[in-house]
Amino acid sequence: MFLRLVADSFGRRPRHKLLTGAALALGMAVATAALSVALDVGDRLAKEFRSLGANLLVTPQADSLPLEIGGVDYRPVNSGAYLPEADLGKLKTIFWHNNIVGFAPVLEVPVGFAPLEAPADTQTGLFHTPATRVVIGRTTLIGTWANHLVSVPDGSRFLTGADKTNGWWKVDGRWFTDGAKECILGRSFARSAGLKLGDTLQIESPKPGILLTVTGILTSGGAEDNAIVAPLAVAQKLADKPGVYRQLSVSALTKPEDAFAKRDPQRMSAAEFERWSCSPYVSSIAYSIKQVLPGADVRVIRRVAEGEGQILTRVRMLLWLVTGAALLAAALAVGASSAASVIERRMEIGLMKALGAGSGTVGFLLAAEQLLLAFVGGGAGYALGIILARLLGEGIFGAAPEPSLIVFLVVIALATGVTLLGSAIPLRRASRYKPAPILRGE
């Protein structure tokens, strides 16, 4: 009988049920879409922020102070310490290895250069008679990786380089091939030296000269605009420092730092330290990098890390508030709709009570109807919301958020809660109705 009453109510007033269901579904679609986006946005934006480049800088601990002005180091070449290139694979073995999106070692060498019209001895790349060429100027040669496959100790390989850590570098032409006798030239340097794509350049350091072919012109907006960027191996050969680098930029996905993250790890208790090192704070990533690179000093690039943290926190909060507002509006509208549907059924309620139904039975019957609607409407709304969130994610970040079970549960719970709450208030009033005046139409 109970089921028959419920089924009859749906069958007799299909349009009403459809509209209440539609209101529910739309409201829950808003909730789903907003929740999915808000849950997903932190990770997506953190990736976007990596376009700002490295947020960690690794230098040798024993290094002398760099005397660098405008990208030119005024230290004597041989002063200062270096770090071994061979250790770099270990970066992908730390606890947060999946958060390390890229790294690039740098070795800078002051060099003299002379343009060469016709490539002479390209087979060996070595130029044995430097006296015949006049060095026309001096600049810095920055040795780094463009796109380098690093062997990780666990047997895998990881592709990284300046292309990943310095996303804002714009190269007209193409990057040099790591290991080849090629280079890219800073824009200002290329202009002042009168060099262009495809030219060959003789590089002089105290060591025998090397011939490099220009494969690209670099616009960086920084000191690199006045420098030559070449493979790390070339710089090592010129500096006579095989297998080492001087500075390493690391770009890592991090969690915005809160008050807890800013505490000194040395003064934490064991449990706190555990929690700290198990959160991808920039400082805990720096700490674990230090563990695998002996003799290295790892510093957080504050501008990047803090700016990123601040903006991420703000945006995430903003989206949560938008989500909250959306949930509130959906809840009120849906609640109003269910309240209305109960208010309008006074006649029916009166009739049922006149026939001897108790307030509990009537309430139970109406609640069952509302619950059924909540599940159907909530489910449909969830599906619609997921599609919308997908469209949104793909349109803006090029990747759709993963449908999450939590969102589904929250949405169904919300739908149930809102419809029940919406009907509860008029139902309470309905329980006080006396059947006779209602049936008389008063």
């Binding site: 376009s51 102070l65 907006g221």
Partner: protein, 401 residues
């Protein structure tokens, strides 16, 4: 005729009044749904405009985004690669907005050692470092934007910074310099005794530099009125930043005005993503909320079958009956929109304060928009009553249909 029309109109409003008064529960429910929609519309529209503007300010957490340097500057030490610092500063003030922060830097290589603690001569370690003469207060805003006065106990930004310096963290580590220590700057035959306000750690080149007052640096190096470069933090959307840059470049022909691409590029990209995300989310939320409210309202409106049937039975034409209900809906929309819109604007002020720490500036244009949208939604949701034109009054009263 006129009297007839007047009495007609009076009757119309009387019916409307009665419609509202008849069922306070229903009235409340409708106002709640419409008001909620209006509140969210107003709050989100207001917040969206404000959040985008606020974001550009947040991006200044990255510090400087534009550098003014002499054309082709690479080395130091001669006037050809420095700029007239006053001219640059004045031009920036002319072109920039009030929130623009600019700091000139004059770089030089100098010796540095710890100040003597006692009168007894002792061997002190001396290192070569890069000194930077600058306006300490402005420079600090650019280098470590998160720092405020609270981190700088002993120094007030407003007092002249002569005799003070900031020491980079790496330098401090090598020379064992602590906050508040005295250091000695040795440039040629000059020795300048300075008090270290605080060690600064930026993670960049600044960690191995020493920052002193620009005038002192100019006197030491004998380069009065010159600066190696000027760093600027300009607040604005990516387009505004580019416009500022080109205006500045046009006014400073002998300088190169270049964006710090690391930040300008990244900012532009992130700004576009965030503002796109915000606009899209707000649009989706608004459309769905509108539809949701509309469905809820239509549901309520459809319950009015009995009223329509009665009005038709006593001779009301479909048009007049419909007009009555549309007028009722419009009035409800107006009331719901006005209450909800006001609530929404206050909500957005609170939200803006919660997110950005600064109350969102209420935009009055948002209010009429929210009210108008609510009225439209209300009218549209009453429109399905038109379908009731086809019902036969008799069948309604018999309880059929």
């Amino acid at each position: 005729m006129a009297a007839h029309r007047t009495s007609n109109r009076a009757m119309f409003w009387r019916i409307i009044r009665r419609l509202f008064g008849a069922n306070p529960g229903r009235l409340f429910v409708m106002l709640l749904a419409l008001g909620a929609g209006a509140a969210v519309t107003a709050a989100l529209l207001n917040l969206e405009v404000d959040a985008k503007r606020r974001l550009t300010t947040e991006f200044r957490a990255f510090g400087a985004n534009i550098v003014v340097a002499p054309v082709g500057s690479t080395s130091l030490g001669d006037n050809s690669t420095t700029l007239q610092e006053q001219v640059v500063a004045r031009t920036i003030r002319d072109v920039g907005n009030p929130s623009t922060v600019a700091a000139p830097f004059l770089f030089f290589v100098t010796g540095l050692q710890r100040g003597a603690d006692s009168l007894i001569p002792e061997r002190r370690k001396q290192v070569q470092v890069v000194g930077a003469g600058t306006e300490l207060g402005a420079a600090l805003h650019l280098l470590i934007p998160g720092w405020g006065a609270s981190q700088l106990g002993i120094w007030d930004e407003d007092i002249p910074a002569k005799g003070y310096c900031f020491v980079g963290a790496k330098v401090a580590e090598q020379l064992q310099i602590h906050d508040g220590d005295v250091v000695e700057l040795i440039y040629g035959a000059h020795v300048e005794r300075l008090k270290n306000i605080r060690n600064i750690s930026t993670g960049g080149d600044e960690d191995s530099q020493v920052f002193i007052e620009l005038r002192t640096a100019q006197q030491l190096t004998n380069m009065n009125g010159r600066a190696s470069l000027t760093e600027i933090s300009y607040t604005g959307t990516p387009q505004e930043i580019m416009r500022f840059r080109s205006e500045l470049a046009a006014k400073l022909p002998d300088a190169e005005v270049r964006p710090i691409r690391q930040f300008t590029e990244g900012e532009a990209k992130i700004y576009n993503r965030i503002s796109g995300l915000l606009t899209a989310t707000v649009a989706i939320v608004l459309v769905l909320t509108g539809l949701c409210v509309m469905a809820a309202m239509t549901n309520v409106a459809m319950e009015r079958k009995n009223d329509v049937g009665l009005m038709k039975a006593i001779g009301g034409s479909v048009r007049r009956v419909l007009r009555l209900f549309l007028a009722e809906a419009a009035l409800l929309g107006l009331a719901g929109g006005m209450i909800g819109g006001a609530a929404g604007i206050f909500l957005s002020i609170g939200l803006g304060k919660a997110v950005f720490g600064v109350a969102a500036r209420p935009r009055l244009i948002v209010y009429p928009i929210a009210v108008a949208l609510t009225i439209i939604v209300a009218i549209l949701s009453a429109y399905p009553l038109r379908r009731l034109a086809s019902i036969r009054p008799a069948s309604v009263f018999r309880g059929e249909a």
